[in-house]
C-alpha cells in the first residue's frame, strides 16, 4: 500500500526532529568542553555559538547576558526558543503521535520516554554538573531510537522518509559544527579573522579545539584511524565535510540521503539535486578555502543547497497531490 503524502511528511519531520535533538545536545556539550579546555584569556565566548546557529537576535531579545547558564538554557530547556531541545522533543512526540500507526510500538514508547525525561529533568540541565548526565542521556535515547528503527522497521517508504529527514538534518548540523570550529580558530579575536590568519600556524589551542569538534560528532577515534598526524583545521574540515565513510561526514550523509530517495517513486528531481550538492562538497578545495578564510561562505552555500533539497523533497512527495 502506498504511503499518504501527509504521513510521509510527518515521518520525515520526525526523523529531522530526533536528529536535531541529538545534534543540539552534542553542540552544547562540545562547546562547554572547549571552553573548559581553553584558557580564560581566550576570548572565545558563548556569543559565537549563538551566531553560528543564527540565534543571536532571538537570544538577545530575551536574555541580557550570554553566559553559560543562559545559553545552555536557551538551547536545552527554553520553551520560548522554537528550536530548543525540549520544543523539538514536543514536536517529535506530536509527529510520532500522528503517525503512531506507522512506527513500531517500541519507537513510540522510546520517544514518549525521552519526552517525559526531558520534562522531568529541566532543573538538572541548568547546572554544569547535572548537564553532562542530562545531555548524555538525551544522546543515548536518540541512539537507542535509531537502533530500534534499524532493527525493527521494514525497509518501506516510512523508513526511507525517516532516514531522509535524519540525513538532511545531520548534514546541516555537521556543517554548522565545522563552522563553529573555523569561526573560533582565533580565540584571541573573534570577528577579526584577517588579523589572525598569519598567526594561526602557531596557535597552541588549535588541536584542542578541533579535537573537541571531532568529539562532539563522536568522530575522534574514527578520525585518528583514518588520518595520521597532528589534528589540524585542514584535515578535520576535509574529514567532516568530504569523508565518504564516516556516518556524520556531510558527504556520507548526502550519499545516504540519495540512496533513501532512490527508493521512492518519482525521485528524479530530488536525486538530481542531492547529486549536485554531493559534487559540490566533494570538489571543494578546503586547504585553499581555509587560506582565503572562505570556509564560512562555503558552508553558507551548502546550507542554501540543503534548503533547496528540502524544497524539492517537499514538492516531490508532500505537496504533489495537493
Amino acid at each position: 500500500m502506498s504511503m499518504l503524502s501527509r504521513v510521509a511528511e510527518r515521518v520525515y519531520w520526525l526523523g529531522r526532529y530526533l536528529e536535531r535533538i541529538e545534534n543540539s545536545a552534542r553542540l552544547v556539550s562540545v562547546y562547554g568542553n572547549v571552553l573548559l579546555d581553553l584558557p580564560s584569556s581566550a576570548k572565545l565566548r558563548w556569543e559565537s555559538l549563538l551566531a553560528i546557529t543564527g540565534s543571536s537576535e532571538d537570544f538577545a531579545a530575551r536574555y541580557s547576558v550570554a553566559d553559560e547558564h543562559n545559553v545552555a538554557r536557551f538551547y536545552l530547556t527554553d520553551r520560548d526558543n522554537p528550536t530548543s531541545i525540549i520544543n523539538s522533543a514536543d514536536s517529535a512526540r506530536e509527529n510520532a503521535r500522528t503517525v503512531r500507526e506507522m512506527v513500531p510500538v517500541s519507537i513510540w514508547e522510546g520517544i514518549n520516554d525521552l519526552h517525559i525525561y526531558l520534562n522531568d529533568n529541566v532543573d538538572s540541565a541548568a547546572s554544569r554538573r547535572g548537564r553532562d548526565a542530562f545531555l548524555g542521556r538525551v544522546i543515548e535515547s536518540c541512539q537507542y531510537l535509531v537502533g530500534c528503527m534499524a532493527g525493527s522497521m521494514s525497509r518501506d517508504a516510512a523508513y526511507h522518509f525517516l532516514r531522509a529527514g535524519r540525513y538532511l538534518e545531520r548534514a546541516d548540523m555537521t556543517s554548522r559544527i565545522v563552522d563553529v570550529g573555523t569561526a573560533n580558530v582565533f580565540p584571541w579575536g573573534t570577528g577579526s579573522r584577517q588579523d589572525g590568519a598569519a598567526s594561526r600556524e602557531s596557535d597552541p589551542y588549535e588541536s584542542i579545539l578541533w579535537m573537541n569538534v571531532l568529539r562532539s560528532l563522536n568522530a575522534l577515534q574514527m578520525y585518528r584511524r583514518a588520518v595520521p598526524g597532528r589534528i589540524c583545521a585542514e584535515e578535520v574540515t576535509a574529514y567532516l565535510l568530504q569523508d565518504e565513510n564516516f556516518p556524520r561526514a556531510v558527504s556520507n550523509c548526502l550519499q545516504a540521503l540519495a540512496s533513501c530517495l532512490r527508493h521512492l517513486p518519482h525521485n528524479e528531481a530530488a536525486v538530481a539535486t542531492v547529486t549536485a550538492a554531493m559534487d559540490h562538497v566533494r570538489q571543494a578545495n578546503l586547504t585553499q578555502l581555509l587560506k582565503e578564510d572562505g570556509v564560512h561562505d562555503f558552508i553558507d552555500e551548502m546550507q542554501i543547497e540543503f534548503n533547496a533539497l528540502h524544497a524539492v523533497i517537499n514538492a516531490s512527495w508532500f505537496e504533489a497531490q495537493r
Partner: protein, 481 residues
Amino acid sequence: MKFSWQNYDSRGFYDELIAERGSARAAGSAVAKHIRSLTMDEIRERQRAAELAVKTMGITFTVYSEGTNIDRAWPYDIIPRTISGSDWDRVEAGLVQRLTALNLFIDDVYNEQRILRDRVVPRELIVESGNFRAACVGMRPKHGVWAHICGSDLIRDRDGTFYVLEDNLRVPSGVSYMLENRKVTKRVFPELFAADNMRPIGEYTAHLFAMLASLSPREGQRPVVVVLTPGIYNSAYFEHSYLAQQMGAELVEGGDLFVGSDDCVYMRTIAGQARVDVIYRRIDDLFLDPEVFNPDSTLGVPGLMRAWLRGKVALANAPGAGVADDKAVYTYVPDMIRYYLDQDAILPTVETYRCGEKEPCAFVLQHLDKLVVKPVNESGGYGMLMGPSASADERHAFARLLRANPRNYVAQPLVALSTCPTVCGDDIEPRHLDLRPFILQGAQHYVTPGGLTRVALKKGSFVVNSSQGGGSKDTWIVDCP
C-alpha cells in the same frame, strides 16, 4: 499488615467483588484473595507502577479547551472488575438482540417506514429529530446494516441486574482503552492471570477489520480500509491512531481523501492516488461532506455522500445511523425488538420520561430534585442535570432550559450504580461504575467479552465520564468452574 476486606463496605449498593462483609463473589474470589495477600503499601506500589506504565506506554486521552497540553495520562485503577461468565452470556445475547433490532429499525426508517406507519414509534419523533438525515432516504447499505459498531452503556442496579442506559451508534469510543487496560494489568499484576480463567479480549481489532473488509464494494480484491479521524486535537485521537495501527489500516484525515469524477474515493499518496473501499469514519455525520451537510466543515471530504450513495465506498457507521441513538428513541427499543424480532427484550432499559410529552414533562418538572435529566442528543455527560445533587438555583436554571425545548430532554430516576473496590489514597474504597461493551455487526455479530469499565473516582459520585474526572478498570469475564 496484610489488607483485610473486613472493613470494606459498599453501603447497600451492589458491589462487583465483595458480596457481603469480607467475602468475595465467585467470579472475583481469586482477585480478592490475591489482594488480601498484599499490604496496603504493596498495593499502592502496584498502583504507582501502573500509572507509570500508562505514562510510558503513552495511553492518553484529550480534554477539550486545555490550551497546549492536549493529552493527559489515562486514569486506570489496578483492581479488576470481575463478572461471571454465566451472567455475561445473557448480557451478550441481549446486546446482539438489541443491535439487530436497532439496525432493522434504521433500515426501515430510511426506506419503507413500516414501524412509523404502524404507529409503534411516533413519526414526528423520527422525522423531526436532529439525527434524521433526509439525504439517506432510500439507501440500502450492505447486509442491511447501518450501525456496524455500537457501544452500549450498561449499569447494574442494587440487585445486580444489568440495565441498558444508552446505545451509542454514531462514533462510540473507548475500545482502545479496554484493550490497553488489559495490557497494563498484565504488566503490573501478571500473577493474577495464572489464577483465573478469564476470556481474552485481544481479538477485537481482528474482528473489527474482518467486519469492515466485509463491507467492501469491490468483491474479490483485497479491500483498502482506512480510519478517518478529525485529527490530533480530537478527544479520541489516541483511539483512532491505535485502531489503525492494530488493523494495519491507514489513518487518514479529510484532506488526504478526495472523490474522483468516477465517484470513487481516493487517497493522496506519495506515488499518486489510491482507491479506498471502506472508511471507518470517526467524524460526526454533519462534518462528513461539506457538499451535503455543514458547508464549513474542513474535516470531511467533498462528494463523500455521493460516493457512498452510489455504492462506491462503504462508510461505517453509515451516515444517519444516529437516528436510533437519540435518548428519546431509546425508550422505544423494547417495542422495536417485539416489532421486528417478535421477542421480549433480554436486557431491561431504565424507566425514562420523555419530556416531549405533556404529562411526563409536568412530572419531571415537579420532581427535578429526584431525577437525572439529559439532553437527547449529547454524549460525554455534557449538558445534564443530576437532580439529587444539584442546588436549587441549578434546578431552576435547568427548568427554564427544559421548558424552552422539552423535546430535547429525557429524565430518568437516579439508578443506584454498582460499586467496585478501588484504590483511593491510603485505602481501598467502593466507587461507582458502569460498563461499555462494544458490539460489531456485519454479516455476523461480535461482542467484546466485558468492555470498558468506567469508574467515578470521586467518593459518592455517579459521573463516570473521563472528561469529567472518571477513571477506568480492566474488566474480566471469569468462567467459574
